[in-house]
Subunit: 159 residues, 2 copies
Amino acid sequence: MSNEALLVATAIAHWKLIISRIEISITRLSDEQLLQQIAPGKNRVVYLVGHLAAVHDRLFPLLGIGERLHPELDEPYLNQPDRTVPDLLTPAELREVFKKVNAALAEAFDKLTPDEWLQPHTAVSADDFAKDPLRNRLAVLLSRASHAAFHTGQAILVK
Amino acid sequence: MSNEALLVATAIAHWKLIISRIEISITRLSDEQLLQQIAPGKNRVVYLVGHLAAVHDRLFPLLGIGERLHPELDEPYLNQPDRTVPDLLTPAELREVFKKVNAALAEAFDKLTPDEWLQPHTAVSADDFAKDPLRNRLAVLLSRASHAAFHTGQAILVK
């Protein structure tokens, strides 16, 4: 494998590891635990899972790798704060939707070449990308992996 | 810049972004807030900062890029749970040590070539690395970036 292919494979393996960790965490938590707040006055785990599912689903258009599977997640889990609108999905449904989105993403990621990972994501202009070629698809992948880890650190507090 | 150099530069920029976020967070928190627990019965922020400082300091030998700056951090912030031993450092000292370790790491990271990022880290055997060439330095960098993000998600809960 070429160096560039190995570097990309390492990054994708990292993404999959981070995703597997949070998927395992939310599988182990009971429905009741998923409905708990991570700390007094803070988000419930179900909200964090819905939030991550929405953010990950938005990677399809952001990376230009396909159509969204669940645009209906944005309103309750991105636009509105937790506990201000009725729950769109049950804990069981959220686990399933989250895994489905992540599985479809992993399949799409495996198809991209190193050249394609270095292309701009769709939210950066040609001018801005010319000034900063690090605003590429790989940067988005790494950013979303750390974002998932950020919320995993919160979700495990309800254990 | 070559593709491999761009891929590595993207990963290092990601690391620096994650580190800057937690450094900003702990700069904004007062000493009193740093001494608070992130949730009832959980770690204090000072412990998380000491823990991250120790884990990051261990990257010098793990990546084979230099000597440790603060091996004394391991006992209170890695080996012992929070609030079981007297605090080794004050909040102000912890902020400084953490930034110093991260700055020295960033300097060392900038010197590694793509080939060197793809070499095994020092905790993997030659046999194991032959079976899985993704157990390289870059994998460790990405893992520690997500680890820092994981604890940042917890530290911000005391706001």
